[in-house]
């Protein structure tokens, strides 16, 4: 007799999770130079989302988030959001090496309906650099969430910014990948800091431990699709040894609240 809850039982057998609100807080559209992907287009990702039962994917462009073509990447995501309402929620990638254009690009994307920011340390600037400040000021004013790529070392910068900009909800991408305890500490210290969980190495019981330490309300499902496999990342939550209510919070309800969807 199976002891699995209804989410786990269906995930174990690859059945669609239709009644579970699922928002993937971390995804990308487009191609990138480091590897081939067949999920570059909105239509291709939608097929996978529908196979699993994912309602909404929050996206930034590969070429903007991890590359230099921020206008192109932002446009790809804005177009997907406009073409498939409710299925994509687009981040505005902030490119700090073009400081004169930061606010201008945010305003351009706001006109297209975007209301969240993505920042990435690949762009070479610490997250407390002056070039980012106009973007944070705008996000703080408007209550936009900011998804920040992190690999552990950026947490001190985020800590400073989370204090300075309390109306921003800071989502820490790849939480736990390094300095696991530091992620727990910052999420405990700041009400406006959340742990987004995608990592290719799917650390054993990370999700359970995060929930035990900081509470299910502070943990968000993200996949990093198409960098990573959304079907793989989903199992870290759907089959985790946590309650069904905690799974629902992590898989979608927290993001619904944070993104006001």
């Amino acid at each position: 007799m199976s002891t699995m809850d209804s989410i786990a039982a269906r995930a174990r057998n690859g059945e669609r999770l239709d009644d579970v609100p699922i928002i993937d807080a971390h995804g990308h559209l487009g191609r990138w130079y480091q590897f081939p992907t067949h999920l570059a287009s909105a239509e291709a990702v939608l097929r996978t989302m529908d196979r699993v039962g994912i309602n909404t994917l929050c996206v930034s462009g590969h070429v903007s988030a991890a590359g230099v073509d921020f206008v192109r990447g932002n446009d790809e995501c804005m177009n997907a959001m406009q073409q498939y309402p409710g299925r994509f929620f687009a981040y505005i990638t902030v490119y700090p090496n073009h400081p004169d254009g930061v606010l201008q690009e945010i305003q351009r994307c706001e006109a297209g309906g975007l209301r969240a920011l993505k920042i990435h340390s690949y762009h070479g600037k610490p997250y407390n650099a002056p070039e980012y400040q106009p973007a944070y000021e705008r996000a703080n004013e408007m209550g936009y969430p900011v998804l920040a790529h992190t690999w552990g070392k950026e947490l001190a910068e985020i800590r400073e910014m989370a204090q300075q900009y309390p109306r921003i909800n800071w989502l820490l991408a790849h939480s736990g990948v390094n300095q696991w305890d530091d992620y727990v500490k910052i999420a405990k210290d700041f009400d406006n800091v959340y742990l987004e969980i995608c990592t290719s190495l799917t650390g054993y019981r990370w999700v359970e431990r995060f929930i035990k330490e900081v509470g299910a309300h502070k943990v968000l499902f993200g996949s990093d699709v198409a960098f990573l496999s959304v079907t793989q990342q989903l199992g870290r939550v759907a089959l985790a040894n946590i309650t069904e209510e905690e799974k629902r919070q992590v898989l979608g309800l927290n993001a619904k609240r944070i993104f006001n969807l």
Binding site: M4, A11, F35, V52, S229, R236, L239
Partner: protein
């Protein structure tokens, strides 16, 4: 699927449907055979990381994983012969577990001759071997690994090799020289498809364990399309990784049921049947 976020009414209705469905005849869960599980203490593992056979079996029960090929961390992080002995003692001939020894060549004078060692492995009841050339400071070149690779090939021993212990050119050379060693790549990085896919197309004896970090988007589908489902093995990387990740990666993949079944258990069972004990 609707573009709208489901409201509570939708969720209640769908829950009711699921309740009805769940009361119908339960579907038979696809049998899962994990090719990559481990026991023992590990260097730098987080506190409370499971170490025992009992904990492994509990997790397999929780996730409905039927069988596993299991190695011992002491074999790769402490001393291979000690690790193999501990593995034999702790796992024994458990009906759901098949032991995977750690192997290395006899070039250092601290191991039995390769053919004798592989014979010992099989006599013990183990049915597969892990190799760590870089970590244990030996080479996969013929002059160093030839006797071991010949012995593994003669007895068709499934041989697990973490990708960071080799490189694609060396791998191509080994697979070309020893086409009947059932080689299983583990710990495949998710950015490796530009070298992995051609290797799989060339070498029928190359297999990939889907354990993390093999997190390629639609990666199983791509390998099935390019090289065939016979190359893929379900693995979890327990207890380094969360086993649920590999389960959903396989179960939600856009595959035929025949392909899924081969990956879930059929391929590893075939490889184990082909071992010349």
């Amino acid at each position: 699927m609707s573009g709208q976020f489901p409201g509570q009414d939708d969720c209640d209705r769908l829950s009711a449907v699921n309740l009805i469905l769940n009361r119908m005849e339960p579907l038979m869960a696809l049998r899962l055979y994990d090719c990559n599980a481990a026991i023992g203490r590990r260097l730098n593992a987080p506190a409370a990381t499971p170490t025992s056979v009992a904990e492994l079996l509990t997790e397999m029960d929780r996730l409905e994983i039927d069988s596993a090929m299991v190695s011992h961390f002491s074999g790769c992080e402490s001393e291979p012969l000690l690790g193999n002995e501990m593995l034999d003692n702790e796992v024994g001939d458990h009906p759901r577990l098949k032991r995977a020894w750690t192997a290395l060549p006899d070039t250092g004078g601290d191991m039995p001759p390769a053919a004798e060692f592989v014979d010992q492995l099989l006599q013990s009841g183990a049915r597969s071997a892990w190799i760590f050339p870089k970590r244990m400071n030996w080479s996969l070149e013929e002059w160093c690994a030839g006797s071991l690779l010949r012995a593994l090939q003669e007895r068709r021993v499934p041989t697990l090799l973490p990708f960071d212990q080799t490189d694609c050119n060396e791998l191509h050379a080994v697979l070309s020289a020893y086409p009947r060693v059932p080689l299983i790549l583990t710990a495949m990085p998710y950015r490796s498809n530009r070298v992995l896919l051609p290797l799989l197309e060339i070498h029928a004896n190359l297999h990939v364990d889907i354990s993390p970090p093999f997190a390629v988007s639609e990666g199983l589908e791509e390998i099935c399309w390019r090289a065939g489902a016979s190359h893929l093995l379900f693995g979890t990387g327990y207890p380094t990784n969360e086993p649920g990740a590999s389960i959903t990666q396989l179960m939600y993949a856009d595959l035929s049921e025949e392909e899924r079944s081969l990956i879930a258990h059929g391929n590893i069972e075939r490889l184990l049947e082909e071992v010349i004990a």
